[in-house]
Structures are given as structure tokens and as C-alpha cells.
């Protein structure tokens, strides 16, 4: 029994002259929620398609649940997936669409109604897919991905079109699935989304891996920031000078000073400001979030 749900080595995909995915390597441990992060066009969907056997890699190898991706028939019965948005037959109802997939996969048909109830479509199952809102379509896509009671769930941008309540429900659903032992591999360009639910992060930019590992490890690499605010706006520059004199990088942003320093330097700053006759209105630590970390690592902002 492998201890990784996904492992990828030197995987690339080239379309004509364009390298969509470039020699990527990463592993996703079993039973984790792994965020697959990157801006639009970074190669997330292409990677997922290769992992599902929909497109052939140009180079490299990959294994899903211990089976090589050249033989998707060996693992797809244990994988649920929604790639590039929910795709269904518009003239069929949500129920009928799931029935088609249940018949195709040989899954028990009782699961269809159970899953419609689970994703909140129990009372709209008989309505035609073309009458669904984007959020409802997304929910149906998630229900379809859950049909095989997957060991690995791969979802591409599952919260697109969902309202805040729906987003929270999806988050809770994914966490519940992970708690039950399902590995969840979920992509999004909304980094704040994934920061909340992920144990593991794979960061992709322009087809290349920027980071792959536990999210805690990533965030620990980032330097914390101390945010200081003074009563007088004119004192902000003096705070910058105090920080720089102590060897810390500091900038003024939105009426506050952002000092790159460990939290234990905050009392030192507080005292130095007091000695300089500055009254601080706020002194708080702030760890960079995933979005800031991503931009810092990729140098995009």
C-alpha cells in the first residue's frame, strides 16, 4: 500500500511550441487535503488531465494510488474528479445526469439520490441541468465526483460560482472527506480559499513548481511582520528609522509601518518608540497569508 496518493516525477506537457507543464515533481500524502495553487493558465488543469489519463504527458511519470498514470483503468474506479467545471447534458435532469454516470461506472443507483441530498440538490434533482444556476451546477459536479466513494478526490476550482454559504459548505465537505480518509486534491486560483482547508500545498507558476510540501512548512519559511501604527501620522517615518537602525526592513503602507521582524522584537520597538516620544496606537504581529507568500515566492507583485 503506497503512502502517497499522487506522485509525479519530471512530468511535462508540450503543445506545439508551448510548454504548458514543465518537468514538475511533487507528492501528495494519503489522507490529506492538498491545495493545487496557481494563477489561471499556470498548468493546473493540464496536470490534472494528465493524472486522469485524459491527455498524454510529453515526458515524465506519475502514480496515482500506487498505479502508473499510463494505466488509468487501474485506479480511476477509486478516483472522483471534476475537471474544468461541471460538464453535463443540458437536456437531462441532475438526477438523470448522475444516473448516466452511475450506470457507466457500475455504481449503486441509490447513491444518486443520497449524493444529491448531500450537496443540497435533493429537491432540484428532477430539474433539467440547463435550468441550474452556476452554483447548482458546481454542486452537481461535486456529487458526480463523489459517486465512486473515492479514495482520491480531484476537484478543479470547485467553489467557482458558489455563494459564501456554499463555499463554506464545500470547505466543510472536503474536510469531512479528508477526516474519513479520502485524499482531496483541489485546485484554485483563490489562494485564500485553499489556505483555510489545506494541509499540503503544491504551487505552480507558468508550468513550474514553486513549492510543494506541508503548508505549515511553507508558512514557517516566511518572515513575520510587525504592524505598528502611531497616533500622529508624522511619526510613521520615525518608526521606519528606528526599525532600520535596528537592521529590520520597514515600509509605510496604509497609515501603518510594516516591519519585517520576529514577534519578540515588538517590545523592543515599543520601548524605542516610547523613548522617542511616539505613542503607538497599534502594535501587532502578522504572518503573511498564502497569497502574499505566493507573490513573494514568484516575485509577481
Amino acid at each position: 500500500m503506497p503512502n502517497t496518493a499522487i506522485s509525479v516525477s519530471d512530468l511535462s506537457k508540450k503543445y506545439d511550441d508551448r510548454l504548458a507543464v514543465s518537468h514538475i515533481n511533487f507528492e501528495v500524502p494519503l489522507g490529506t487535503v492538498c491545495g493545487f495553487v496557481g494563477p489561471n493558465g499556470s498548468g493546473k488543469t493540464t496536470t490534472m488531465r494528465m493524472l486522469l489519463g485524459l491527455i498524454t504527458p510529453t515526458t515524465g511519470q506519475g502514480h496515482i494510488l500506487g498505479e502508473p498514470i499510463e494505466h488509468p483503468e487501474k485506479y480511476l474506479s477509486r478516483v472522483g474528479a471534476m475537471i474544468e467545471g461541471p460538464a453535463f447534458y443540458p437536456a437531462l435532469s441532475g438526477y438523470e445526469n448522475l444516473m448516466v454516470l452511475a450506470k457507466l461506472g457500475g455504481f449503486p443507483i441509490e447513491r444518486v439520490q443520497q449524493l444529491l441530498d448531500k450537496v443540497g440538490l435533493g429537491d432540484r434533482g428532477k430539474s433539467k441541468f440547463k435550468t441550474y444556476s452556476l452554483g447548482m451546477k458546481q454542486r452537481l459536479g461535486i456529487a458526480a465526483a463523489l459517486l465512486p466513494e473515492p479514495k482520491l478526490l480531484m476537484l478543479d476550482e470547485p467553489t467557482n460560482g458558489l455563494d459564501p454559504e456554499g463555499i463554506q459548505e464545500v470547505r466543510a465537505l472536503l474536510r469531512d472527506l479528508a477526516n474519513e480518509g479520502t485524499t482531496v486534491f483541489v485546485s484554485s486560483h483563490l489562494l485564500s480559499e485553499l489556505e483555510i482547508i489545506s494541509d499540503y500545498i503544491v504551487m505552480l507558476r507558468k508550468g513550474e513548481i514553486v513549492f510543494a510540501g506541508p503548508i505549515g512548512e511553507l508558512m514557517a519559511q516566511q518572515q513575520p511582520t510587525i504592524i505598528a501604527k502611531s497616533l500622529q501620522h508624522s511619526d510613521l517615518q520615525k518608526i521606519v528609522e528606528i526599525a532600520e537602525a535596528a537592521g529590520h526592513h520597514a515600509v509605510i503602507r496604509n497609515d501603518s509601518v510594516h516591519v519585517l521582524a520576529e514577534m519578540d522584537w515588538a517590545p523592543v520597538l515599543n520601548k524605542a518608540a516610547f523613548d522617542a516620544g511616539i505613542t503607538l496606537a497599534q502594535l501587532a504581529p502578522q504572518l503573511p497569508n498564502l497569497e502574499e507568500t505566493f507573490f513573494e515566492m514568484t516575485g509577481d507583485k
Partner: protein, 263 residues
């Protein structure tokens, strides 16, 4: 494979598609069969391209299925449209990726689709056959056509043979539609090209040079439905038509199996 067939039949039994298709088949069946009897004495003929089907032909043991055999080409066009649409829509709706995630064997998807659509076509053909023979029985007395031989052993054999020929022809038309759907990946393009070629281009080419009838794909499939024509034998039509269908199906299958599903 059986799972693919069951899943596909679930889509095909949708009322709009099923009754729409059967309705179209019945319309052409009723129209063409009725013309044969109602216009039996018309100087402009009562068959396709001004051909005359006289009482002496209709009174034969095979007379009951003359209308049914004549409508075979139209049933084929309907099958081409259905097969092309059902295949190409998987690309336009993006549903092909769902199918392939649940059944990664692309050949099983393709063959399962073909079997289910062939079953659908057989249902359409059976209903058309029953209606055509029924209309023939109703209109024959008014057209002074003697039906004594229709339900003899030879008559039933003719019904069975015509049913088999029409089925071969219609499924072959359907495969052509499926090939176009796989190659063009758009229902509108596949149907337009197929219908345009079969109804207009081929007829124009045959009008320009009649001998081309022996080599054009649509003409072969029409001839199979009719059990062969005066200037195009059944065996020749079956051989040439079979070669066209086999080449098309092979090329499309290889492309389908190897092509990336990137939409």
C-alpha cells in the same frame, strides 16, 4: 461494455430525442409509402427520381415492403443525424471527460455508444417497418393492388430480408455520422456536412455522370436498403459501402483513442 450501453441508452430514451426521432421516421415512412400507392397512375412516377413502381411489382411477395425499402435512405439520414449529434455533443458539452474518467477504455466507450445507438436505430426501423406495411395494406385495395402474395412464406421472407437490409444500411449511415462527429467534434458541422453530401452533392454528381453512382458512399448505402438496384447490385453496394464505412470507422477510432481530451 454493458455499462456503457446502459448509460448511453439512458440518454437516448429522453422523450424529446426519442419521440422526435421516431416522429421524423414516421413522417418520411408515411409520406413515401403513401406516395407509392396514391400516385401509382401518375405519369411523373411514384418512386424516387421519377421512377415508376407499377402494380405488377407491388403485387409480388415483396410488395408489402416496397415503401419501407424506399424510405431506407431517409431513415439512414435520420440515423446519421442522431449518431453524429450524440457523438459530437460529448465534445461540445465537455462531457467526454466525465465518460473517460468513469470508463478509461476509449474503445469500450466507442463500441458501447455504437451498440446503444444501433439498438435505438433498430427500434426506429422496426416502428417504421410496421407502419409502412400497415399503410401499404390500407392503401393497396384503393390502388387496385392485389395483396394475396404479401403474407405468404415468400412474403414474410421478403419482409425479413428487407428489414435486415434496411438495418444494415441505416446503421452504416449512423456509423458515417459517428465518424463525422468524431472528426469534426461539432454536431452542427457533422450533421451539415453529412446531409449536404448525401442529399445534394452526391445527387448532383450522379446527375452529371450516372456511373459515379457505383462508387459514391451514400448511393451504396441506399442501394443496400433497397436490396440492390437495376444498375447497382446488392453485392457491389455491400462491398463498396462496407469499405467506406470500415475505413472511416478505423480512422475515427484511432483518432479517438489517441487524441488528447483537452476541452
Amino acid at each position: 461494455m454493458l455499462n456503457v450501453v446502459k448509460a448511453e441508452l439512458r440518454k437516448l430514451r429522453r422523450p424529446t430525442l426519442f419521440f422526435g426521432t421516431i416522429g421524423a421516421a414516421l413522417f418520411f415512412t408515411g409520406l413515401i409509402t403513401s406516395f407509392i400507392y396514391l400516385m401509382i397512375d401518375s405519369p411523373r412516377g411514384n418512386g424516387d427520381r421519377g421512377r415508376t413502381i407499377g402494380r405488377e411489382v407491388l403485387q409480388l411477395a415483396s410488395g408489402s415492403v416496397n415503401g419501407f425499402a424506399s424510405v431506407g435512405g431517409f431513415l439512414g439520414i435520420i440515423a446519421l443525424c442522431v449518431f453524429a449529434a450524440q457523438t459530437a455533443q460529448e465534445y461540445t458539452y465537455g462531457t467526454l471527460r466525465n465518460l473517460l474518467v468513469r470508463q478509461p477504455s476509449r474503445m469500450k466507450i466507442l463500441v458501447g455508444k455504437l451498440i446503444s445507438m444501433a439498438l435505438f436505430a433498430v427500434a426506429m426501423i422496426t416502428i417504421a417497418a410496421v407502419v409502412s406495411v400497415a399503410i401499404s395494406c390500407i392503401l393497396a385495395p384503393g390502388a387496385k393492388v392485389n395483396t394475396d402474395l404479401w403474407f405468404t412464406t415468400a412474403g414474410f421472407h421478403a419482409i425479413f430480408t428487407t428489414f435486415v437490409n434496411v438495418t444494415i444500411s441505416v446503421v452504416a449511415f449512423g456509423i458515417v455520422g459517428m465518424v463525422l462527429g468524431l472528426l469534426l467534434r461539432s454536431p452542427i458541422s457533422a450533421i451539415s456536412l453529412g446531409v449536404l453530401w448525401l442529399l445534394i452533392v452526391e445527387n448532383l454528381l450522379i446527375a452529371v455522370k450516372n456511373s459515379w453512382q457505383s462508387w459514391l458512399p451514400g448511393a451504396q448505402l441506399n442501394a443496400i436498403a433497397s436490396g440492390g438496384l437495376v444498375d447497382l447490385t446488392y453485392k457491389h453496394a455491400l462491398t463498396v459501402g462496407g469499405i467506406y464505412v470500415a475505413i472511416g470507422a478505423t480512422v475515427a477510432s484511432v483518432l479517438f483513442v489517441r487524441r488528447d481530451v483537452a476541452n
